[in-house]
Symmetry: C2
Subunit: 315 residues, 2 copies
C-alpha cells in the first residue's frame, strides 16, 4: 500500500506492506489530518521511523469482531496493554507498554490502511461528514481539559494560542458558557474565532491576575509567561502543548499565589463525536487544503507554513 | 517594648514603640517561633524592614471586642481588607491589600506585643501548651495541602524534605491513613519521623513513577527533580516551599504524563488547633532551644545552622 514514510527526518511516499494483525481491526483510511505532532516528528523532536499520522476516519474492512465490519470509524490513538498498573488503575492512555498510532511503535494513518484494537474504535454518526470526523482526535484532546478542570458559566477562561489546536480548544471551551477570550495574533485566526462568536484579545490587552482558568496552547516560553501572568490567585493553568526543550521560570509566584498547573494530553472520543454531531463544534472551516496521499510530502510542507490551519490527505 | 528588628539584612534587639491600633486586638506574646521565612527575610530574599516573626501564642490584653480580653490566642498572619475581589471571592489569604505579620507591611511576633484584627484570632484550647500552640501557623500551612488535594487511605504519598516544615507536613499527612514515606537525609530528621511511626527513604531509594501525590518541601531544584520523577502519570505534585531564583525544567513530561502541580501556602488554623488538641500532631519534640528575646540575634543564628529544627523565643 501507499504510505507517508518518515526516516531520519526525511519524508517520502512509498509502497510499504499493509499492516497485518489478526487481533486488530483493519481500517481503510478515508481521510487523514496533518497535526502539529506530525510536524514535530519530522523535525526530529521525537524519535520515530515509519508511517506517521494519527488523525483519521476510515472503514473497517476486517475485524476479529464481525460487528465492526463495514463501520465508519475513528480511533483512540493509544493502544494499551490492559494489564499494567496504569491500565488497571483506569489510565489506559498512560499505559506503560502503550503504542501510539503514527507516533510510537505503531504504523500511522497517512496511509491506505491502518490497524487498531477493536477497543479503540468509535462509530462515526451518519450526520458527521468525513471532513468533520477526521478532527475527532484533536477535539477529544480539547475535551480532556473539561475532564480535568471544572469550567462553567461565570468562570473567566483565557486561551493563549489560536492555531490548529487552539481553534478547536476555543470551540470546546465556548460550549461551557464561560466568559471566554482567546489571545490571537493573526487575522485569519481572529476571523475564524469571530465567526464562531468567540472574543479575541491582543497579547498586550490581557488583564493580569484576572482569569480563573488559563489554557496555554502555544508551547512557547512567551506563551507560558503570558498565561501565568493572566491567572488570578488560586487559578488553574492548563498546559495543552508540549514544550520543546527546557523552560526557565520562577516557581515562587506559583506557590505564593497557590496556582494549580495541569498537564493535558489525549482525551475521550465519545464526547468529541457528540460535539460534532450536535454542531456545537464545527472544525470544517479550519480545512485549508486537501491533498492526495501521493502528494503528502508537499502537503506536510504546506501544513508547516506559519499560519496554516488544517491540511488533509486522501489515500 | 523590646523587639527583634531587621534592617538592611542586619538584625538587632532594640526598643521600639509598642504597636498601637484601636481597631485591632493587642496581644502580649508568650512565645514566638523562628521559621524558615524569617531566615529568608534576613538573607534578603524579600524586602522587609521592621519587626520580624509570625509564629506566636499570646494573650489578648486590649481588644475592640471585649469578649477576647484575656484569651490565649494564635492568629492568622494575613490581615485582609474584606473588600477586594480576592476577599469577596472567599480568598482572604490572597487579599490584594493584605499585610502579613512580620513579613509584609506589618510588625511581627518576635516582640513583647503585636496587634492583629480580631477576625484573625483563634482561641487555644486549654489542653494545648504554649510550646505546642506556637506551631499552629506552620501546622495550618501543612493542613492546607489536605484542603487542596484529596488524600486518603490507599494513596501513595511521598514527602521530599524532612526539615522544620517537612516534619510537620509528615505528621499531618500521616493523619490521612495514606501509604506515606518521607525522603530524609539527616539522622536526626529520620529519628524524629521514626518516633512517630513514619517511614523514611533515602533519595536513591525512591521508586520512580510510583507515587500518587508528592509533596516537595525542600525548595531546591534537586528536590523538585526528585519529586517530579517519583510521580505516577496523572499524579499531583504539591509545592510547599518557596523557590529562590529561577528553576530550569522540561515542561513536556508534565504534559505527556498529565501531571498536576499545586502551589500551597497558608492554611486554616482551626483544623491545626484540632490536631494539636487531639495529639494527632505533636510538634514539641522539634523544639531544640528556647532563648529569651534579648538573645534573639543568637537564636536566629542557631536556627540557621544546618539541621536545626525549631528555636523559640520568650519575651
Amino acid at each position: 500500500m501507499k504510505a507517508l514514510w518518515l526516516e531520519d527526518r526525511e519524508l517520502s511516499v512509498r509502497d510499504v506492506p499493509a499492516p497485518l494483525c489478526e487481533d486488530e481491526a483493519l481500517i481503510r483510511v478515508r481521510v487523514s489530518g496533518i497535526c502539529g505532532t506530525d510536524l514535530e516528528l519530522v523535525r526530529g523532536y521525537y524519535p520515530f521511523t515509519g508511517v506517521i499520522g494519527h488523525e483519521f476516519v476510515g472503514d473497517v474492512v476486517a475485524s476479529p469482531d464481525a460487528d465492526w465490519l463495514g463501520a465508519r470509524v475513528v480511533g483512540d490513538i493509544n493502544a494499551s496493554c490492559g494489564a499494567c498498573e496504569q491500565c488497571l488503575a483506569g489510565r489506559p492512555t498512560h499505559c506503560e507498554a502503550r503504542t501510539v498510532l503514527g507516533i510510537s511503535e505503531r504504523a500511522g494513518a497517512h496511509a491506505e490502511y491502518l490497524t487498531l484494537p477493536v477497543a479503540n474504535l468509535h462509530r462515526v454518526p451518519d450526520s458527521v461528514s468525513d471532513e468533520a470526523a477526521v478532527f475527532t482526535e484533536p477535539i477529544a484532546a480539547a475535551v480532556e481539559i473539561l475532564a480535568q478542570v471544572p469550567i462553567g458559566p461565570g468562570d473567566r477562561v483565557l486561551l493563549v494560542g489560536a492555531g490548529r489546536l487552539g481553534q478547536l480548544i476555543a470551540q470546546v471551551l465556548a460550549t461551557t458558557g464561560a466568559d471566554l477570550a482567546v489571545v490571537a495574533r493573526h487575522d485569519r485566526q481572529k476571523a475564524l474565532l469571530h465567526a464562531r462568536g468567540i472574543r479575541t484579545l491582543e497579547p498586550d490587552g490581557v488583564e493580569p491576575r484576572r482569569w480563573d482558568v488559563v489554557v496555554e496552547a502555544t508551547g512557547s516560553p512567551s506563551g507560558f509567561g503570558l498565561a501565568a501572568a493572566a491567572l488570578r490567585p488560586r487559578g488553574t493553568l492548563v498546559l495543552k502543548s508540549t514544550y520543546r526543550g527546557d523552560v526557565t521560570l520562577a516557581l515562587a509566584p506559583f506557590v505564593v499565589d497557590e496556582i494549580t498547573i495541569v498537564g493535558s494530553r489525549c482525551g475521550p472520543f465519545e464526547p468529541a463525536l457528540a460535539l460534532l454531531e450536535s454542531g456545537a463544534v464545527d472544525p470544517v472551516p479550519l480545512i485549508e487544503a486537501t491533498f492526495p496521499l501521493a502528494d503528502a510530502v508537499e502537503a506536510v510542507r504546506v501544513a508547516g507554513e506559519p499560519g496554516t490551519m488544517k491540511v488533509l490527505l486522501r489515500p
